[in-house]
């Protein structure tokens, strides 16, 4: 399980990147399209020329060709060989590196089982689905037993359910194999769910490296805060365990129930789009409801942000422009709100 370091690594639009990825870590890089995420992976793999240094296990690997760096790479477009069967695709790297026939057979068999694609062994890439192709490409990149795996948006172009399932499965498999993983995505929820640490990239530089919790509660600058959706951060005065798996926290004049088993919660983060607002009193009592007054209305193109005061607390709610237009809301209007429980994040 190697440690990966970048020291002043520079290429095209990425300048002086410094980063340390720990042994066996599942490290996720997030950022908008064009932020330089794939370029960073290319530098680690050695498929593009760069200045500065890339170190793997404290050894500078700059002069080494890609395959001598012990790195596997899952390309965003997968780059499967269309003229080879699934089995031949997986075995390509092993054959190229001179493995014995029996060893190749055994390794292919192991990977077909690991990725649950044994039934696809004889098919060609054009005969299998998008999700299956991802599994084949992953098996191919894992075939020569790389110590580091680079994943470039492995769940892109999949439906949300398949994407969630695949990313969780990927995380579990790679953790089990002890492979240091660098996973690029623009899906923040995915990053939060599977990462040990997250790095945020913007305009070719690394803006913040932190654990998922720290990332949400302590964004390093406004570009990070904007990317994570500028959540409402509330200090918790009191934590009260309820039935199993639920706690109620008190923050000044707000009481919020959230699913967790902790006894003491220090802060919670509420994404603005998880705060639902209505100008009429709901007929039934909602969980995590509140009554507040609109203090400020900020209009963007497709969304409207409302600053609402609830006693001493302030919450930002984000609505779609059409939802806002369907309500009669102005500065000073009394509004009724509810906070979606499943979108809450907390730190102890």
């Amino acid at each position: 399980m190697p440690k990966i370091e970048l020291r002043n690594a520079t290429i095209r639009n990425c300048h002086d990147l410094n980063l340390t990825i720990r042994n066996g870590e599942y490290f996720v890089i997030v950022g908008e399209t064009g932020a330089g995420k794939t370029t960073l992976l290319n530098m680690i793999a050695g498929v593009e020329k760069y200045t500065g240094s890339v170190l793997i296990d404290d050894v500078v690997v700059n002069p080494l060709p890609p395959f001598k760096r012990g790195v596997g790479y899952l390309f965003q477009e997968l780059a499967l060989f269309p003229h080879f069967s699934v089995m031949a695709n997986i075995g390509f790297g092993l054959k190229a590196q001179g493995y014995q026939k029996n060893a190749i057979k055994e390794r292919i068999s192991f990977l077909l089982d690991l990725m649950q694609i044994r039934h696809l062994a004889g098919r060609f890439p054009h005969q299998i689905s998008g999700g299956e192709k991802k599994r084949v490409a992953l098996a191919r990149s894992l075939a020569p037993s790389p110590k580091t795996l680079l994943l470039d948006e492995p769940t892109s172009s999949l439906d949300p359910r398949t994407a969630k399932h695949l990313s969780s499965e990927l995380h579990d498999i790679l953790k089990k194999l002890g492979v240091t993983t660098v996973h690029v995505t623009h899906d923040l929820k995915e990053a939060e769910r599977i990462s040990d640490r997250i790095a945020f990239m913007a305009n070719g530089s690394i803006e913040q490296v932190a654990t998922p919790a720290a990332f949400f509660f302590d964004p390093a600058n406004t570009s990070v805060a904007e990317f994570i959706g500028m959540p409402n951060i509330l200090e918790c005065r009191q934590t009260r365990p309820l039935a199993s798996g639920l706690v109620e926290i008190v923050s000044d004049d707000l009481k919020i129930i959230l699913p967790c088993n902790r006894r003491h919660i220090r802060k919670i983060a509420i994404p603005p789009d998880a705060v639902d607002i209505s100008d009429v009193e709901p007929s039934e009592l909602l969980l995590n409801h509140f009554v507040g007054t609109v203090e400020k209305i900020i209009q963007h193109n497709a969304t409207v942000k409302l600053q609402i005061s609830i006693g001493k607390n302030r919450l930002i709610s984000e609505l779609t422009a059409s939802a806002f237009m369907n309500m009669f809301i102005a500065k000073g209007t009394k509004v009724y709100g509810a906070i979606k429980m499943n979108r809450l994040r907390y730190i102890e």
Partner: protein, 263 residues
């Protein structure tokens, strides 16, 4: 029920192919017998052409001339194919070679193969090498161009993936690049094979005393339209046969994974 309708569909497709051809031959026969040129040597009937073709094969005249033409086509096609594919591979694979040769190829490609004839007559002389050289030139350019373009259009990420998996340059060329450029190389090859038959005919008509082209020229001087048409039919069939063979080879090689090979 399903099987019957499938047969019906296939039968209907064949019918649409056969009927127009039959109608053409019948109209030809009728026009030759009862038309304004009816019964003259200038416009022989379909049946007269068939009889003449049989006679030409029986006497060995057609076989002898066809063999001479076929020999030239095969040698010319072979030389043009080898040189076109090798130069095309080098151009597609190595950027420097592409940049160096691309202007020359672009300049020479538009010259029709027959445009080289006067020059080659002076350089080589009128002998067996002349049609072979003309065919080679006619085959070389489209094949070289298509091979280079095919190789350059191979997905770069696929090549990167092969590099990361530890493949050598040679393995990448032969196991990744060439199979993925094969479809376009075959397009060039099919174009070239047709080109070789057209070129050899013209070369034989102008300068060489043997072969189908020469037979046509002799027939023209004797006003034997039936021999001219028989020769053209044989030539057309040979051309189709070559394209069909290449189509079969292409389908066998890449048809099972790409699904874009032509029959």
């Amino acid at each position: 029920m399903k099987t019957t309708s499938l047969f019906k569909a296939a039968g209907s497709r064949s019918l649409w192919k056969i009927v127009p051809v039959m109608v053409f031959f019948v109209l030809w026969e009728l026009a030759a017998r009862y038309g304004p040129f009816g019964g003259t040597a200038i416009f022989p009937s379909f049946s007269a052409v068939l009889l003449e073709m049989a006679a030409l094969f029986k006497s060995g005249v057609m076989i002898k001339n066809l063999a001479a033409t076929l020999f030239r086509v095969l040698i010319g096609l072979f030389l043009g194919t080898i040189s076109g594919i090798v130069i095309g591979i080098l151009m597609g694979w190595q950027e420097k070679v592409y940049r160096s040769l691309s202007p020359i190829i672009s300049m020479l490609y538009p010259i029709p193969a027959l445009g080289w004839l006067p020059l080659l007559m002076l350089w080589i002389g009128i002998n067996e090498m002349l049609p072979i050289a003309i065919i080679s030139i006619g085959v070389f350019f489209p094949l070289c161009y298509n091979t280079a373009a095919g190789i350059r259009s191979v997905d770069q990420e696929m090549i990167k993936a092969a590099h990361i998996l530890g493949a050598s340059e040679m393995r990448i060329l032969f196991e990744v690049i060439l199979p993925n450029a094969a479809s376009q190389i075959f397009t060039g090859l099919k174009l070239s094979s047709g080109m070789s038959w057209r070129t050899v005919l013209a070369a034989e008509m102008v300068a060489i005393p043997t072969g189908i082209g020469a037979l046509i020229m002799k027939a023209e001087s004797l006003v034997r339209v039936d021999i001219i048409i028989s020769s053209l039919v044989v030539l057309s069939l040979m051309c189709l046969f070559f394209e069909k063979i290449l189509g079969v080879v292409e389908k066998k090689w890449i048809g099972n994974w790409s699904g874009n090979a032509q029959d």
